[in-house]
C-alpha cells in the first residue's frame, strides 16, 4: 500500500542515521486560519517533516486536550466545513512533499458516508486516516473500503491494552501504528521512561508496522528516545503552542531545538 511504501522509503533516512526518527506533525484545519495553516506547513516542510495529520474540526473533540479543543471550536466558528478541509488537503498534497493523514472524529466520516468520505480523501491526495473515537470493533466496513482504495486505516495501541488485544489491533492495522504513550488526552507531557519503552516493546511484539509514538512529544530528547524504540515521533500540541506564541519564527525555533 502507498503509505507503507512511502514509510519504508523514509525509514531509510533513520536507518542510515540521517534522522533519529521520522516525524509526524499536526494541524487543525482552519485554525487559526487556512492561511496560517499553510505557513505552518511551510515551516514543517522546511524541517523535513515526514507526515502531517490534518485534523478536520469536530464540535465534540472528546479525545483532545484543551488546546486542540479550542482549535476545533474556533475553526468551526470560523466557518470551516468538511468541503473546505478537503479542498485544503488537495492544495497541500499537491504542493508539499510530506504525506497527509486525515485526522478527526468518526462522525465527520459517518455523516459524509463511508465510501464517499474515503473517496474524497483519496481524491484529495490523503494517505490514510486516524479516528480516535472509532474502535476497530466498529470499523469493519470502513476499513475494508480503505483497503479497497489503498488508504491506511491507522490504528491506535495503548498501554491499557492486553497482549491479546494488541495482537487483534495489529491484524486490523495498516500503514503504521499510533502508539499512545500514556493515558489522557492530547497535550500533556509524557515522561519518556522505561514504562513507555516497555509499552512500545509490547506493541512491536504484536506488529511489524512502523510505530508512531505520541502524545506529549516536545524535546529533542523525546525524539531520540522514540527513535531508539520506535520509528515515528508525533508532534502535536507543542508545535501549535509554538505557533500561537510567535507564528513562523517561534515554530522554526521549536523545530530547530528538536533537531539539536
Amino acid at each position: 500500500m502507498a503509505l507503507n511504501e512511502y514509510l519504508n522509503e523514509r525509514l531509510e533516512l533513520k536507518k542510515s542515521g540521517k534522522k533519529p526518527a521520522l516525524v509526524m506533525t499536526h494541524v487543525v484545519c482552519g485554525y487559526p486560519s487556512f492561511e496560517e495553516n499553510w505557513q505552518e506547513l511551510e515551516v514543517m516542510q522546511e524541517f523535513g517533516v515526514d507526515l502531517v495529520e490534518l485534523q478536520f474540526p469536530f464540535s465534540e473533540p472528546s479525545a483532545d486536550g484543551p488546546l486542540f479543543v479550542k482549535a476545533n471550536q474556533q475553526a468551526i466558528e470560523n466557518g470551516v466545513h468538511v468541503d473546505d478541509c478537503f479542498e485544503f488537503m488537495q492544495r497541500v498534497t499537491q504542493h508539499f512533499d510530506f504525506k497527509v493523514i486525515m485526522m478527526g472524529y468518526y462522525n465527520t466520516v459517518f455523516k459524509t458516508g463511508h465510501r464517499a468520505f474515503l473517496q474524497r480523501l483519496k481524491d484529495a491526495g490523503g494517505y490514510g486516516f486516524i479516528l480516535p473515537d472509532l474502535p476497530i470493533d466498529e470499523a469493519g466496513e470502513l476499513h475494508s473500503i480503505a483497503t479497497e482504495l489503498d488508504l491506511a486505516p491507522i490504528v491506535l495501541m495503548t498501554p491499557t491494552n492486553s497482549d491479546e488485544r494488541l495482537a487483534h489491533l495489529a491484524k486490523n492495522a495498516d500503514g503504521f501504528i499510533y502508539a499512545v504513550a500514556r493515558k489522557g488526552v492530547t497535550g500533556s507531557n509524557t515522561t519518556m521512561d522505561q514504562e513507555v519503552a516497555g509499552f512500545i516493546a509490547r506493541c512491536k511484539q504484536a506488529t511489524d508496522l512502523p510505530i508512531a509514538v505520541g502524545f506529549g512529544v516536545s524535546t529533542s530528547a523525546d525524539i531520540h528516545f522514540i527513535g531508539e524504540h520506535a520509528e515515528i515521533a508525533v508532534i502535536g500540541t507543542a508545535a501549535l503552542k509554538a505557533w500561537e506564541s510567535g507564528k513562523a519564527p517561534e515554530l522554526r525555533a521549536f523545530f530547530a531545538q528538536l533537531e539539536a
Binding site: A63, Y106, N107, P135, L156, R165
Partner: protein, 417 residues
C-alpha cells in the same frame, strides 16, 4: 420482549443504533464494566441489594397518584402520575446512580465522575459518592453552573468537586466530553457515572436496567389502583432514561401506547429546540460514544439546542428509544416551552403538585391528549422529578415579579463583593 437480548444481533445495538464508540485506551475499562455489569445483571442477589438500598435510602417504591381534579377538569381520560419526584434527591436520577454506585463498589474503584446539565444527576451522584465514600468530581458546563448554582451548592456541600466546563456550548454535551477526557486519564481508579441511557454500550442497557424499577413498580400499581393497564403512558425524553425506565414495564402490553415527550423549545427549526425525533431537524450520527439521532448539521457538527428544561436540552437520544420509534412501538411528540409552563401552572393549582420542568413536558402532552380520550381511558405520566429545586428556572419561566424583587433585596443584603 427483551430489548437487551443481543443473541440475534450485535451486542449493544438496538437495530442500527447504539454501539461502543470510545477511544481504544478505554477498551479494557469498558470491557471490565461490561463484565461486571453482566455478572451483576445475572445475579438476582445484586438486584435484591439494589432494591433494598433504594427502599431504605431513597424511599422506593414511589407511589402512583390519581389526579382526579385534573382528569375531571379536562373531562377525558383518568390521569395518574408515577411519583419519581418523591425519591431522595427529588428525581429518578438516583435510581441509576445508586445502582452504578453498587457496581463501583464491586469493581473496587474509589472515585466517580459525572456530567450534569440541569444538575439533578450531579446532585444525585454527589449524594451517592457521599453515601458510598467515593471521591467525586462533577463536570458541568459553565453556562449551567451559572444558572444552576443551587445544585452546585449542594454538590459542593456533599463533598464533590464541581468543575465548570468552558468548552463548546458550555452545557451538558460539553460536560460529557470532559468526563470522557477525565476517564481516559484516570480509568484505573475512576468510574464514569453516566447520567442517562445514552453513551457507549453498556451504559444505555445499564441505565435502562436500573431505571426499569420505575416501570416494574408502575405496572402493578396501575392494576391495583386504576384496575387496568394505562391506555397511554407519557414520559419526557432528555437522554431517555426515565422514559425507558417506565416503558420497560409495559413492553409486552401491546395495547399500552408509549409516548416520548421531547423539548419543543421555541418550536420547530434548527437551534430552536431539543426534539430529536418529534421534529425533523435531527439525523443519525455517532458522537459521545454512541450511534443515534443527533441534532447536527451536514458536516456532523452539533447544533445549538434550546429548552426551558435544562435536563432535556441535549443533542442526542437513547438509541433504544430510537429503535422502538422506528418500530412504531414508541410515539414521539414535542411540546413547546409555553405549553410546558402552562402545564406546570395547571398541575400546581389543581393538584398541589410541582413537576420539574422536564417532567412537565409529559404533563403538557398528556393534557392535550386526555381531553380527546374517554372517561374510561387511563393515562400514566412519569413525574420524573420535582420542581421545587428549580425555583430560579421556574420563577424565570413564569417571570415572577416578587421573586425578582426578593433576589434584588437579597443581593443588596449581601452587599458588594
Amino acid at each position: 420482549m427483551d430489548l437487551f437480548n443481543f443473541k440475534d444481533g450485535r451486542e449493544g445495538y438496538y437495530g442500527e443504533y447504539g454501539g461502543t464508540f470510545l477511544p481504544e485506551i478505554l477498551h479494557s475499562t469498558i470491557e471490565e464494566l461490561k463484565l461486571e455489569f453482566r455478572k451483576a445483571k445475572d445475579d438476582p442477589e445484586f438486584w435484591q441489594e439494589f432494591i433494598l438500598l433504594m427502599q431504605n435510602y431513597s424511599g422506593r417504591p414511589t407511589p402512583v397518584t390519581h389526579l382526579a381534579n385534573l382528569s375531571k377538569q379536562l373531562g377525558g381520560a383518568q390521569i395518574y402520575l408515577k411519583r419519581e419526584d418523591l425519591n431522595h434527591t427529588g428525581s429518578h436520577k438516583i435510581n441509576n446512580v445508586m445502582g452504578q454506585g453498587l457496581l463501583v463498589k464491586r469493581m473496587g474503584k474509589t472515585r466517580v465522575i459525572a456530567e450534569t446539565g440541569a444538575g439533578q444527576h450531579g446532585y444525585a451522584t454527589a449524594t451517592m459518592a457521599a453515601r458510598f465514600g467515593f471521591d467525586s468530581r462533577i463536570y458541568m458546563g459553565a453556562v449551567d453552573v451559572a444558572r444552576q448554582r443551587p445544585n452546585v451548592f449542594w454538590m459542593e456541600n456533599m463533598g464533590s468537586e464541581v468543575i465548570a466546563v468552558t468548552d463548546g456550548q458550555q452545557t451538558l454535551k460539553d460536560a460529557i466530553n470532559e468526563c470522557l477526557r477525565d476517564w481516559v486519564t484516570n480509568m484505573d481508579n475512576t468510574h464514569y457515572v453516566l447520567g442517562t441511557a445514552c453513551g457507549p454500550h453498556p451504559f444505555p442497557e445499564m441505565v435502562s436496567w436500573f431505571q426499569s424499577v420505575i416501570g416494574k413498580e408502575a405496572r402493578q400499581q396501575m392494576l391495583d389502583s386504576a384496575g387496568k393497564l394505562p391506555d397511554r403512558i407519557f414520559a419526557c425524553v432528555g437522554g431517555g432514561s426515565n422514559a425507558i425506565g417506565l416503558f420497560q414495564g409495559f413492553m409486552d402490553d401491546k395495547d399500552v401506547e408509549l409516548i416520548g415527550c421531547e423539548a419543543g423549545g421555541f418550536g420547530p427549526g434548527k437551534g430552536n429546540h431539543a426534539a430529536r425525533l418529534a421534529y425533523k431537524d435531527a439525523s443519525v450520527g455517532v458522537a459521545q460514544g454512541m450511534k443515534t439521532y443527533f441534532l447536527q448539521n451536514d458536516d456532523g457538527n452539533m447544533l445549538e439546542t434550546h429548552s426551558v428544561a435544562a435536563g432535556l436540552d441535549y443533542i442526542g437520544v437513547n438509541p433504544v428509544l430510537v429503535h422502538l420509534w422506528e418500530q412504531e412501538r414508541v410515539r414521539f411528540e414535542a411540546v413547546t416551552d409555553t405549553q410546558v409552563t402552562e402545564a406546570l401552572k395547571i398541575s400546581m393549582r389543581t393538584e398541589g403538585i410541582i413537576p420539574a420542568l422536564e417532567s412537565a413536558h409529559g404533563f403538557a402532552q398528556a393534557i392535550i391528549e386526555a381531553e380527546t380520550m374517554s372517561k374510561d381511558d387511563v393515562i400514566l405520566i412519569n413525574m420524573s422529578g420535582r420542581g421545587d429545586k428549580d425555583i430560579f428556572t421556574i420563577a424565570d419561566a413564569l417571570d415572577d415579579k416578587h421573586w425578582k424583587q426578593f433576589i434584588r433585596q437579597k443581593a443588596e443584603q449581601y452587599g458588594p463583593e
